[in-house]
Amino acid sequence: MTIPMLELRHIRKNFGALNVTDDVSLTIPRHELHAMIGPNGAGKTTLIHQISGLLSSNSGTLLLNGEDITALDLPQRARKGIVRSFQITSILPHFSTLENVALAVQARSGSSFRFFGRADREAVLNDAALAALTEVGLRDRANLRAGLLSHGEKRQLELAIALAAQPSVLLLDEPLAGTGPEESAVLTDLLRRLKGRLTIVLIEHDMEAVFSLADRISVLVYGKIIATDTPQAIRDNPEVRTAYLGEETA
């Protein structure tokens, strides 16, 4: 049996009496694109926070490639290869687009306790950053201040940052949120190209994108996973239809 890339065992999170994540167990094999859907308030983002280490879990175990990483915090997990994007765009607005990405390269390339030599002139960092920017189609924006990018470009930048951090697991929290149809098409194409190269956990409300991209889909309702299956099987699942999809198709 091969070791799954990511395994959640009985993960819980409660805020007071509210169970936001209620005994979630999930196994995600290497290089799967796993989508997480569910109505608003189902606890999708909370679960991503718990996997990334931004929020600690009340109980449960998290395994990355067989290694127990439950006790690690956000930066430690990032160094282990779990890299995330945020629902609300999170970049360094006063840094150039290139430097935003170069920092992510820097995090994975040698020590950052170096006090001499200009970081923005390190070819090793800049070359890798440019490669990531090229990948997401932002190469010609490299020297622009990141705060001046359009919303869609900022989402592309966030993906470039995540890619430059060399993730083994990429957690994407609504990467298409707030983008127009054209921007959304660019990003969906990008995700399609990443598919199969990385293990990806994707939260997204754009059902068209989710069903065309995902290898498997989990449906989260009130903090519980009610079904995990292939897109076709999820579409046909009566329980899912009533709990979630039904609301949209009815």
Partner: protein
Amino acid sequence: MIMRREILPLSIFLAFAVLPLLGDFGSDAFILSIVTRVMIFAIAAVSLDLILGYGALVSFGHAAFLGIGAYAVGILSAHGIREAAIQIPAALIVSALFALLTGAISLRTKGIYFIMITLAFGQMAYFFAVSLAAYGGDDGMTLPGRSLFFGYDIVQSERAFYFLVFACLIAVYVACRMIVTSRFGRVIRGARENPQRMEAIGFSLFAYQLTIYVIAGTLCGLAGFLLANQTQFVSPAYMTWQRSGELIVMVLLGGLGSLNGAILGAAAFLLLEEGLSHFTEYWKLYFGPFLVLVVLFARGGLMGGFKRLTGTDDGR
């Protein structure tokens, strides 16, 4: 070709370099001693700018390091050790240790709590100095003279001391410039803008912030060593919370996160204080509103104004 953004620091240092050559200030070294004081506080302000401007960590206890550096000179001198080769390492090491200890605790808090806890540590240092009865207590102590360098009394003259301080300022400035543009400095600047983003790509910020805190404290300890030598007097007054506040004002006045600004801010603060106090003993009555106006209207302090004038505003 000299980059446009290098013009300002070069002008500042050129001005400091030629001032003693302009005239023979003779025995009345008043101007020389004021500018020396400006440069000493510029070192302290530059060091504070590392954490306040680049790290967005509002430390309200930075004057403690001035005091520690000064007391290293005072206490060692009281025991007959006037050798700078011993005093300077002592000042730097004790400052670094104090920064390491207090920083490790303070940096576990954020925002207003960080301000309060650094203030508390600053006050602890102050009252500790007050309680040092053997070393003058509340009144402080007069030094037997300036420090010796390898046994030689070479900074006894105001002019020689001026150049010593000038050399220290250049060294500190150059070191800080390197630090803020290095890999390490980029992590610190990134954490100022968006700490969560930095953690999400794998930087455990505590270690970086503690390091910059220790560097800043150590450099300010050097300023303390120089301050004690200039005045040949050491007292707890060097580390009052008002003095910490003045250092913050210097950095704000000059413009946060631009080392040039910290030097300009220190100069503007001390020269205004000196100038206004000649006209009236109520000089603070005029100085206060002036500061309010700068904060309200000159966004980015003196450096902000300078950048807007020269068109080198890169928005940082």
